[in-house]
Symmetry: C2
Subunit: 197 residues, 2 copies
DNA sequence: TCAATATAGGAACGTTCATTCCGTAAATCG
DNA sequence: CGATTTACGGAATGAACGTTCCTATATTGA
């Protein structure tokens, strides 16, 4: 059943992991094909043959991120957890992941392609990460809504507003960590944030 | 007392304002000298003669930003205000400024040069904005500390932790606004955040 | 009016960018 | 084995990057 033609000499999973780290460190625009090739070990022909373009590789790298370290944000969708616990686990998991020395630091989705050139070029890349952020936001909101129904969360608050507050905090965490704020302080701050709900 | 030599045909203040907006829209790296020249109206020789380099122009543009719209963050240092009021005014003022249609949207300091190429090139630009973020963080902390002394803020909380929570929220606001979250919702979320203190 | 000083315009610098093309190598299918 | 298909390594593409150089121009101080 193997494919026709010469087989690939690289493992796609490993290539995506290396590319993810490059984009993570530098953002979309500042990641050059030269460095992506160096870190992945791919020739230009192989890279473009397999992923089509820098933008195509970025989208695949984002998928890889979400399937991997970035998956912590989906803890708010765990229906087996108490909503407030789910929020807490998401917050602490996110901070832990973003400060894990095994990764470049911060959040790929929060930091890549927030601003950029006006050209049509990186607009697609920005849309890719903005879409993921929108998912995170609505996931948090749904979790809080369950908490209200559950009685674990204050009923006098608009879940949409609370979700925006929590998500704004989460987005800020990336910059804080890059600025050298200690992870432990952010964990404590996250707990404080949750006491308001 | 006018200077010797041929006088400048541009007004520095206007040039800095135009450059600030370019950096604001695109970030440091994605702002090309070509567009900076187009928006400022300066020739390459004038630009480099007056500011030395792209990085030099960026630093001056950041100063201009802080002296202008970015100055809202310094409301937390207003000792004539009740600390909690000062925090509130800073938060609402920041959200209002970042959603003001007269400006590109978001915060120049929060969005520019958070990530970038590893080269020595833009490291200086990142340090410039990181330093400003550190000032904001400690300003918030000092304000909260005054609130504790004042009795307006809960005494059982570590002001450093509370400041990190508030600042993380502030940093996240930029991305939220760029993602299309309504300013009104962020204003309400800011009020909710302050109720935790 | 004449040297000295500083800005302006514009071409040109070498480098890096993302991407494509070409000849060769390694697999499957008939 | 021959035809086909896919992937590889590496050179080459034109465009854009930040920066510098050169010449002309406009001012001040003597």
């Amino acid at each position: 059943m193997a494919q026709k033609g010469r087989p690939r000499t690289f493992v796609e999973h490993e290539v995506l992991d290396a590319a993810m780290r490059v984009f993570w460190r530098h953002g979309y625009e500042a990641s050059s094909i030269t460095e992506l090739r160096a870190q992945t070990g791919l020739s230009a022909a192989s890279l473009y043959g397999a992923f089509g373009s820098k933008e195509g590789l970025f989208e695949r790298a984002i998928e890889h991120y979400i399937a991997g370290p970035g998956g912590v944000s989906e803890l708010v969708g765990d229906l087996t957890l108490d909503p407030l616990d789910a929020l807490g686990q998401m917050l602490h998991g996110t901070i832990a992941m973003q400060s894990d020395p095994a990764y470049p630091g911060g959040c790929l989705v929060a930091l890549s392609a927030t601003v950029g050139a006006g050209g049509d070029d990186d607009v697609a890349a920005r849309k890719t990460v903005a879409a993921r952020r929108a998912e995170d936001r609505s996931g948090i909101e749904a979790c809080i809504r369950r908490g209200v129904d559950n009685g674990a969360v204050r009923a006098d608050l608009d879940p949409a507003i609370s979700a925006i507050m929590v998500h704004s905090f989460v987005l800020g965490v990336s910059t804080q960590l890059l600025d050298g704020v200690p992870p432990a302080a952010l964990h404590t701050a996250a707990d404080l944030l949750l006491t308001g709900l």
